[in-house]
C-alpha cells in the first residue's frame, strides 16, 4: 500500500494541494481525454494527465479519484487548485511526461513484475 504522501516524495512531485495525504492510492489511470477517464478511471486511484483545469477535478470527484498528477511541469489555473482543495483531491506536478510518471507509479504500486 502506498499513500499520496509517499508517492509525492518518491516521485519528487511539486505539491499544489495535498488532499488527504495519508490516503492510499489503489490504482492509476493515464489519459488526457476526460470522457475516457470518466468511463474507465477507478475509485481510489490517481489520474496522470496534462489536463490542468478544473474539469479534471470535477471528473476526479465524480468517480472518486483522490490524486491528479499533472505532467510536463504543467501549472494549472488557480480555480483548479481551489476546486481540488474543496474536494480534498491532491494535485501534484511532475516535470516528467505521462509515460515516465506512469511506469514509476506502477513500480510503486507493485504492478511491475
Amino acid at each position: 500500500m502506498v499513500t499520496i504522501e509517499q508517492v509525492q516524495q518518491k516521485l519528487n512531485l511539486k505539491v499544489l494541494t495535498m488532499g488527504e495525504g495519508s490516503t492510499p492510492i489503489s490504482s492509476a489511470y493515464t489519459s488526457d481525454l476526460l470522457s475516457d477517464v470518466m468511463a474507465n478511471g477507478e475509485e481510489g486511484g490517481a489520474l496522470i494527465t496534462i489536463q490542468g483545469h478544473k474539469n479534471s477535478v470535477a471528473v476526479a470527484s465524480l468517480i472518486g479519484l483522490n490524486t491528479i498528477i499533472l505532467c510536463n511541469g504543467r501549472l494549472p489555473a488557480d480555480d483548479m487548485v481551489e476546486a481540488a482543495e474543496e474536494e480534498s483531491i491532491a494535485i501534484l506536478v511532475s516535470q516528467e511526461n505521462q509515460f515516465t510518471v506512469s511506469y514509476k507509479l506502477a513500480a510503486l504500486l507493485g504492478l511491475c513484475n
Binding site: L34, S35, M38, A39, N40, K54, L62, I63, G64, A77
Partner: protein
C-alpha cells in the same frame, strides 16, 4: 424582426443535465423567458428531439434540432438542423461512432428519454459523453453538407473547446462560433459570434442569449442572419 436565440441547451438525456430538465420544460421555460428560437443539443444523442419538437409546437416557439458532438479530439461542436428528423438521423450516426461504454447512472447521471408529456420512456445505457470517432474538421464539413449549422461550442473555455484542445481555430466554414464570456476573450477570426445558455439545470434556461435581426422566425431566417452577421451580443 429582432429575435432572441439560444442555440445550446441540454435535457435530462445528457448525463450531466438535470433529470428535471425534460424537453417540454425546456421549451416552456424558454418561451416564458422571451426566447424566440431555442435549440436542444444533448451530448451525442438526439433521442429527445421528437418530444422537444412536439413541445415547441404546442408552446409556440421555434425549435432547432441538434446535438453537441464530442469529436475525437474531445472538442465540443454544435450540429443544428431544421427538423427533428434531420437531427435524429445525424445523431443516430454519431451514436454509432461512440465508444461502447456503459453509463453508470449513480456516478455519471441518468440519461433519460421522455415523451412530450414528460413521461420517461427509456433510459439509455450507452455512455453518451464519450468521444465520437470522427475528426472536428471532417465533422464540420459533413454537418454543412447536410444543410445544418456547425458551431464550435464555448471556444473560450479551457476544456472541450477547439482553442483549448487544438490550439487554433482551423479555417473552416463555421456558421458561427460560440463564446461564454463578454467581451470575447479569444480571437474569433471574423466568424459570427453567438452566446448561448449551455443549459444543464432549469435555472440556466435563457441565462445567455443572442439577438439576431432576421427576415423570418424560422431556421432559414436564423441561417441567413448568421451568414449576414446580423447579430447583437
Amino acid at each position: 424582426m429582432q429575435l432572441k436565440i439560444d442555440l445550446h441547451n441540454h435535457s435530462c438525456l445528457s448525463p450531466c443535465g438535470s433529470d428535471l430538465l425534460l424537453p417540454p420544460v425546456l421549451a416552456y421555460e424558454a418561451y416564458e423567458k422571451g426566447v424566440d428560437i431555442i435549440a436542444l443539443t444533448d451530448h451525442n444523442c438526439g433521442r429527445n428531439l421528437s418530444a422537444f419538437s412536439e413541445a415547441c409546437e404546442i408552446v409556440g416557439i421555434t425549435g432547432v434540432y441538434g446535438i453537441e458532438v464530442n469529436t475525437e479530439e474531445e472538442v465540443h461542436l454544435l450540429a443544428l438542423f431544421e427538423t427533428p428528423e434531420e437531427g435524429e438521423d445525424f445523431s443516430s450516426w454519431i451514436e454509432s461512432l461512440l465508444p461502447k461504454w456503459h453509463n453508470i447512472p449513480q456516478k455519471l447521471g441518468h440519461q433519460l428519454v421522455c415523451d412530450v408529456r414528460g413521461n420517461i420512456t427509456e433510459e439509455i445505457d450507452l455512455f453518451l459523453y464519450g468521444a465520437a470517432a470522427i475528426s472536428f474538421d471532417n465533422l464540420v464539413e459533413i454537418i454543412l453538407k447536410r444543410g445544418g449549422l456547425a458551431i464550435p461550442a464555448h471556444i473560450d473555455r479551457l476544456s472541450n473547446s477547439v482553442l483549448a484542445n487544438l490550439g487554433f481555430l482551423p479555417p473552416l466554414a463555421y456558421s458561427a462560433v460560440e463564446v461564454v464570456n463578454l467581451p470575447p476573450t479569444t480571437e474569433s477570426n471574423s466568424y459570427p459570434v453567438i452566446r448561448s445558455s449551455d443549459t444543464h439545470f432549469l435555472e440556466d434556461v435563457a441565462s445567455r442569449t443572442t439577438l439576431i435581426e432576421a427576415t423570418s422566425n424560422d431556421f432559414s431566417g436564423l441561417k441567413e442572419a448568421l451568414q449576414k452577421g446580423h447579430i447583437t451580443l
